[in-house]
């Protein structure tokens, strides 16, 4: 029963991500995931592109977490 609850929670989350992204592209009142990532990636600390390193590092970790470990 709790397993089904967890699955339902993750499915709901995925559906909400798709729904909000669709609304963002349709109505332009919500930022898209890509635009949010782009804004984060503009952040720099001195000459270090901290935002780009952070976003790339996060995506790198996602791939490693699901595909290599």
């Amino acid at each position: 029963m709790t397993r089904l609850l967890a699955i339902a929670g993750f499915v709901l989350s995925a559906l909400l991500i798709i729904g909000v992204e669709w609304a963002a592209r349709r109505y332009r009142k919500i930022p898209t995931l890509s635009d949010m990532a782009a804004v984060i990636m503009t952040h720099e600390s001195g000459r270090i592109p901290l935002g780009r390193v952070a976003i790339f590092g996060f995506w790198w970790w996602v791939g490693w977490h699901f595909l290599a470990r």
Partner: protein, 134 residues
């Protein structure tokens, strides 16, 4: 009259989807053969990520401009993120058991199969490339 400031460098031919997508396809088909927890999979992921990082931090790949400000509806993203974080954290805090699993415990059996694994490689590479271009 010349307007050099208006000159926009054309994107290199190799950055076009007609070139990159087949490359990602081949890399994904190869990656699908590498099982989780193997040294090969770790090295493969490390190499792919390092190349993407190198491309993304350099000036070789043209980038799409970032918006100067975001629309006000940013808070809508708290809804899916909140649901995901709630279920992930409660499952993690409970020890991620079969009866109440985290997301990775749920998808691991699926990713033991070649096709879902190759598809996830493709999605991951395409997503990485999208970030490199931003």
């Amino acid at each position: 009259m010349d307007h050099p400031e208006l000159t926009v460098a054309a994107a290199p031919a190799w950055t076009r989807p007609a070139v990159t997508m087949p490359i990602f396809g081949v890399l994904s088909l190869m990656g699908g053969f590498l099982p989780s927890f193997s040294l090969e999979a770790n090295l493969y992921l490390f190499t792919l990520g390092a190349v993407m990082m190198w491309l993304g931090l350099g000036q070789r790949v043209p980038r799409r401009p970032a918006p100067t400000r975001l629309p006000g509806g940013l808070a809508w993203w708290l809804l899916p993120v909140g649901v995901l974080v709630f279920f992930e954290i409660t499952a993690f805090a409970g020890g991620s058991t079969e009866s109440y699993p985290t997301l990775s415990l749920l998808v691991d059996p699926l990713l033991d199969n070649y096709l879902p694994r190759a598809l996830l490689y493709f999605g991951w590479l395409t997503g990485f490339w999208g970030l490199v271009r931003r």
